[in-house]
């Protein structure tokens, strides 16, 4: 799947790769890409969404059993993908425990195991949160501040664990990838499903600037970071350019339906019962917009997504109609 894009260098020698969050869409895709070349240890507590050959080890990540499992298996590379927002399925508290306590257990185990050379953490540009007092252009050096939703706070906590762990493990590279909103047909995450509705309820009087990352590019970015010579640091990963929400909907040939705030809340509640829940942080994104500068991604990491924001939108929204 990756060979067609010609972006990956020759694969490095066989590594023992621990992939957390393997049951999620992105976790499954990463395992699929890695398993022909590496020994993959896939971990998650749910049924996998994507089929792969490697055995899925069912552990709840916030348990000490899981930490012991990591220490026993002695991985050389850790790809931590279980930072997703699972509050819709699990409820807020369980989701938080899975993400934050899970990360705490994992990083503790990495420190104890002593075998790990590279850690890749999937974060999200949502870590910046969004609001009226946020700069329009956010870079990796921008100080993270401002009110945040629960998911955004989780991400901040996880990134802080990484920052705390880094000084004590100087010979391990920590690559934090802040992925932009992942968009695509197969990923079917809340943002993709919501914008694929025939009529899209939006907030009247607001039009956020949206940056998108095509689903294949999100997988590529993680594989790329794990296969090239490891680079330390935090990187924003997103497709080139921005789209206003209104134009994004128009590109998809959907009908935007601006609603005042109370009516929008009702519409969202109605959609949530139909299984299309729009999380709070995405609703804020639609309201205020966000742009994460990707200069460091191209200059230091050497990665360029194959599709721009516009192409991601066109490919996802026009193929279904």
């Amino acid at each position: 799947m990756l060979s067609g894009r010609g972006q990956l260098p020759t694969l490095t020698p066989v590594e023992r790769v621990l992939v957390t969050g393997a049951a999620s869409w992105i976790g499954g895709r990463v395992v699929q890409e890695l398993e022909p070349h590496h020994e993959v240890i896939a971990v998650d507590e749910f049924e996998p969404r994507m089929a792969f050959a490697a055995r899925l080890h069912r552990y709840s990540m916030d348990s000490l059993d899981f930490a012991q499992f990591v220490i026993d298996r002695q991985p050389t590379t850790v790809i931590h993908l279980q930072t997703l927002d699972r509050s819709a399925e699990l409820g807020a508290t369980r989701s938080r425990d899975g993400a934050v306590l899970g990360a705490q257990a994992l990083f503790g185990a990495i420190e104890r195991a002593g075998s790990v050379r590279q850690v890749i953490v999937k974060s999200d540009t949502a870590v910046y949160s969004t609001g009226p007092r946020h700069a329009s252009i956010l870079s990796e050096s921008t100080r993270i501040s401002g009110r945040a939703t629960r998911y955004e706070r989780n991400l901040r906590d996880i990134e802080r664990f990484v920052a705390d762990l880094k000084p004590s493990m100087p010979d391990v590279t920590f690559t934090v990838l802040r992925l932009g909103p992942i968009f695509g047909q197969t990923v079917a995450n809340p943002i993709s499903r919501y914008l694929s509705l025939p009529v899209v309820p939006t907030l009247m009087g607001f039009d956020g600037r949206i940056q998108l990352l095509y689903e294949d590019d999100a997988v590529d970015a993680i594989i790329f970071a794990s296969q090239t010579s490891p680079v330390d640091g935090i990187f924003n990963i997103a497709g080139d350019g921005i789209l206003y929400l209104s134009r994004l909907i128009r590109i998809g040939r959907r009908i935007p339906q601006p609603l005042p705030s109370p009516q929008l809340r009702q519409a969202r509640r109605l959609l949530a019962t139909a299984g299309i829940a729009l999380p709070e942080h995405t609703a804020n994104l639609f309201k205020y917009g966000r742009y994460a500068a990707t200069a460091r991604m191209t200059a230091e990491l050497g990665f360029t997504p194959a599709r721009t924001t516009r192409q991601a939108a066109e490919r996802t929204l026009r193929s279904r109609t």
């Binding site: 007092r133 350019g241 206003y244």
Partner: protein, 372 residues
């Protein structure tokens, strides 16, 4: 023939001459004297009436050759290219020549179609050239007809590269001064450039304003935004007084307030951009302030807790008064010639700019006979 025209023009009032000059789209017309206007018009009439008599009518502006779907773009092209601004004719984020050329409202159907097609890109700050054009058309009504803005020293605005336009803030209801500053550089400068004005978060919070303001080229007053604008070689418009200059009592009209932490000087040191102080008169009388209220400011803070508003002005008239405006661009300050660039220098230079603007304001006010 010339003498007849001359006599005809001599019999007109200045307002009528300006109206003629606008019809002929003569550059710099708002700052000309009556004699200059009639001279410029005479010259224009002599050169422009020639081709009409020789056969073909006035050349129609070139249309953009770009095609989306089956439809040609239909917007006028830039003068030295066969493309319009939307399709690569010129850099829309810097040059403020409207995408639709200097034609007027007959280009709106083509603009509306581009808006619906949404094939052009917007920059990371959110400048939408088509919306910016539509806003520009409307601002021109205020600029030429309602506020009849007079401009002095426009040659101090650099024709390329970054620059920071620092102006005094005025008014109470709407920040007309930001719009007029941008319109002055777009209409009267030798190279019509786009000024990216930065404002407070209130513009991000109000419905409808929040995106129209962005789409017309403005940005949020954050360091990252301003640095991006300057590093890309654009013009930045700042009002360092902020809300303290905006919501002040009528007794303090044209008294520049504190210039904050002098963030604009810091930016100039970092990016090497020139600082161009601008003095604006007219803004304080558009909505004369009756009184300022701390109570009202408290109420506003309850709705917008992030606002640092201390006093709220209550103004007289719901409709802006047709005040005569005057903008004076002062000589540019090159920060590379400044002796020190430390923290104190930031405050010193910021204070120097403030007093330059204050002196210019005092001069202009002394020269003014009537506010209309």
């Amino acid at each position: 023939m010339t003498s007849r025209l001359d006599a005809m023009l001599g019999g007109l009032t200045k307002e009528e001459l300006i109206a003629l000059a606008r019809a002929a789209s003569l550059p710099g017309r708002s700052s000309m004297t009556k004699a200059q206007l009639s001279a410029a018009l005479l010259e224009y009439l002599e050169t422009e009436t020639e081709p009409e008599s020789s056969g073909p009518p006035l050349p129609r502006p070139n249309r953009c050759s770009s095609v989306t779907g089956q439809h040609p773009c239909g917007l006028p092209a830039a003068s030295d290219s066969d493309r319009c601004g939307l399709h690569g004719g010129y850099d829309v984020s810097d040059l403020a020549i409207p995408v639709a050329g200097k034609l007027g409202f007959d280009t709106w159907p083509a603009l509306a179609r581009q808006l619906a097609l949404a094939t052009y890109d917007v920059d990371p700050l959110g400048l939408d050239p088509v919306i910016a054009d539509m806003v520009w058309h409307m601002m021109n009504f205020l600029y030429f007809d309602y506020f009849r803005v007079e401009v002095e020293g426009i040659e101090n605005v650099p024709s390329s590269g970054p620059g920071i336009l620092v102006a005094n803030h005025a008014g109470a209801a709407l920040p007309y001064d930001g719009a007029m500053l941008a319109a002055a550089v777009a209409n009267d400068a030798a190279v019509p450039r786009r000024v990216r004005v930065i404002g407070t978060e209130i513009f991000n919070m109000l419905p409808f304003v929040s995106h129209l303001y962005r789409k017309s080229g403005a940005a949020f007053a954050a360091r990252d935004d301003a640095t991006w604008i300057l590093n890309h070689g654009h013009l930045l418009g700042v009002f360092p007084e902020g809300v303290a200059g905006f919501q002040k009592a009528q007794s303090q009209a044209y008294q520049t307030q504190r210039f904050g932490r002098g963030g604009f000087v810091d930016l100039a040191f970092q990016t090497g951009a020139k600082i161009i102080p601008v003095a604006i008169i007219g803004g304080e009388e558009v909505h004369p302030v009756l009184f300022t209220s701390k109570r009202l400011a408290q109420l506003v803070r309850m709705v917008f807790p992030e606002q640092r508003l201390e006093e709220m002005a209550v103004w007289l008239n719901p409709i802006p008064l047709p005040v005569k405006w005057k903008l004076k661009f002062l000589p540019a300050i090159d920060v590379s010639t400044v002796e020190h660039t430390d923290r104190l220098a930031v405050l010193e230079l910021s204070e120097a700019v403030r007093s330059q603007i204050q002196f210019a304001l005092n001069d202009m006010l002394a020269d003014r006979d009537s506010i209309f």
